[in-house]
């Protein structure tokens, strides 16, 4: 007999919490900020129920720091914030990159610089990629539905553990608050990836020596392995002040442990693209508006489809390059003034005509505006 499906009506922020619990996150430190606060509130209920720990810190700097502290202790840890809070976290995110500490940061976007306003946008697509100083590679996932808030949170946790990097889930004020159906799996059956532990005996262990995966084994504190985690550029032993060759080596390794997986990491959804002459490139909540417009356009006989990157970073350059050879026109639609637009232009090896539809008034993209653009091109 088939087991009955467990379908629940959930809010985007709530789905993030359930995804985290399902993925094995057992530590959360955060600070209230609209529109991410429900994550903080909900996980404060859920974590102790499963033996996990929740702490509200004094600010966002402390929140990400406590998350790293817990992760170093061997516990899967996460925080959630919005743009202004993310701005406070960026130095410590750089620390997580160089020290190679797994963690997940959920960024629920609002609109505008400074305190902005608590309405939706996609204005942090670039800042999530480049905010912290220094050269680095990280991973950013962009859900477009409540279902994906659940699924991609699990994926984010697993990727952070696998690569020992901070992974970002880029949500927005609208997605955070809408309610949709989610088919919830049995949490015991969810695939959970754990960081690799050292494979050498303790006396041979060097904290930053990696095998061919480029990811060093990470022991738990309190084990027979002497842990040493450092914020500075270091050699394999964690020693400060490596030579120029060693500096190049460590930075290359940090880049390559991500870049070596470009065949697998960038996830892209293709929708009605098989026979399309025109493609709309859009992601997150904005892609939902695009899908609505596509149905009308198709009914009018326009051959148009959607390419939706689910992984924003690393950018799915290869998929976009191929697309530029397949279609004559690409309409880039984002709820900002053009951020991934530049990446699409850089990937335009097929010389497709690129046009842009932006919106940054704090309101979700109007499908009519996409439709108008499609009609103009078509």
């Amino acid at each position: 007999m088939d087991k009955q499906k467990n379908v629940q009506l959930m809010q985007g922020n709530e789905a993030v919490v359930e995804g985290a619990i399902a993925a094995g996150v057992r530590f959360f430190a955060g600070y209230p900020i609209t529109p991410s606060t429900e994550i903080l509130e909900r996980i404060s209920v859920r974590l102790p129920q499963v033996g996990g720990k929740f702490i509200q810190m004094e600010d966002e700097i402390a929140s990400i720091s406590a998350v790293l502290g817990a992760s170093m202790g061997g516990v899967k840890a996460m925080t959630a914030t919005s743009g202004p809070g993310f701005a406070l976290m960026v130095e410590t995110i750089g620390y997580a990159i160089v020290a190679e500490i797994p963690c997940v940061v959920v960024e629920v976007q609002r609109v505008g610089p400074g305190a902005g306003m608590v309405f939706t946008s996609q204005q942090d697509t670039m800042s999530i990629r480049w905010a912290t100083p220094g050269g680095f590679e990280t991973i950013t996932l962009a859900p477009a539905s409540v279902k994906e808030c659940f699924e991609l949170t699990i994926r984010a946790v697993n990727l952070s553990e696998r690569f020992r990097v901070p992974v970002f889930l880029l949500s927005d004020a609208h997605l955070a608050h809408i309610r949709e159906k989610v088919e919830v799996p049995n949490y015991n059956e969810v695939l959970r990836v754990d960081r690799t532990r050292p494979t050498v005996p303790p006396y041979k262990f060097l904290p930053y020596e990696a095998d061919e995966t480029g990811v060093p084994g990470m022991p738990d504190f309190g084990s027979e392995y002497r842990c040493k985690i450092v914020a500075v550029l270091h050699d394999k032993t964690g020693k400060y002040g490596p030579s120029p060759e060693e500096r190049t080596f460590i930075l290359k390794r940090l880049h390559n442990k991500i870049l070596a997986h470009l065949d697998e990491l960038p996830m892209v959804e293709e929708y009605m693209l098989e026979d399309a002459d025109i493609a709309v490139f859009s992601y997150g909540i904005c892609a939902r508006a695009v899908k609505a417009a596509l149905k009308t356009a198709r009914a009018e006989g326009i051959k148009v489809g959607l390419m939706r990157p689910i992984t924003l970073w690393p950018f799915p350059k290869e998929a976009v390059s191929k697309l530029t050879s397949r279609v004559s026109d690409i309409i880039v639609a984002e709820m900002n003034s053009g951020q991934l637009l530049g990446e699409v232009e850089r990937a335009n090896e097929g010389n497709a005509n690129i046009r842009f539809v932006g919106q940054e008034d704090g309101i979700v993209m109007d499908p009519q505006r996409i439709l108008s653009a499609i009609r103009e091109v078509g």
């Binding site: 530590f27 209920v45 129920q49 406590a66 502290g69 061997g74 516990v75 504190f221 842990c227 020693k239």
Partner: protein, 282 residues
Amino acid sequence: MAKIAPLAEIVEKQIDMLTYGQWGICAGCGGGIVVQALARAVDTIGIPNKDIVILNGIHCSGSQAASLKCNFIGGLHGRSIAYATGLKFARPDLTVITVQGDGDAVGIGGNHFIHAARRNSDITVVVNNNFIYGRTGGQYGPTTPKGAFATSAPYGTVDRPIDICKLAESAGATFVARGTTYHVIELVDILEKAIRHHGFSVLDIITQCPTAFGRYNPSLMGNSTTEMLKWMRDHSVRIDKAKGIGTQELEGKLVIGVFVDKEAPVYEDEYEKIIQAAKKVK
């Protein structure tokens, strides 16, 4: 007070000589004395090194704490207490000690210091208080005395200094003490008490910086290691004696000893009760 073991014995047992010295400090710095005292305290208490985590911010004196044969977290400037809060909360079985400078602990990291004290997290905070930002070449910091000179205070500071012990006490720390690098035997003893204490412990260690603070302020503590250590000897008043002395007479003196040593609910223990309650509700 425990028997003082020979230095060579402590070094052999507690210090990894391969990493000692890679964290360059100036001649005459008090940081080495603090690390030696820490190594002795750890040795006396007898906690296995694998269960101890030393956290370090960005500062000079005491950054050799990385050479203790314990686990080590070298963090960003001012954030050690915030990492320690998460680490101790997630792993209450570990002994968590931060070794920081005065700027690291109560300047850039002041907010974390206050709030960890308020929560009474079971962390030991060891502050190397040398009255100056030494690592960056001698700028004035949160504990620099008013009127002292620094590379960023060429005409003398206008700022009033913060008293780390008073701050810790008022924020809710349950163990607060001050020692100096002159009173070494006492320092080991206080460190031992601080680490053993269940709750948030703060140790304000007055340490000499002849290179920056001494050089710019020879009239305050002297400008050599020996002069500065002698100054500590001559200006320290033990807390029990200080109680009988008026505030005016204590002006310019260093009150040393244990200011606060009390029991109070500890954050990690209190949250464990939450977990037990939440599991029942589910």
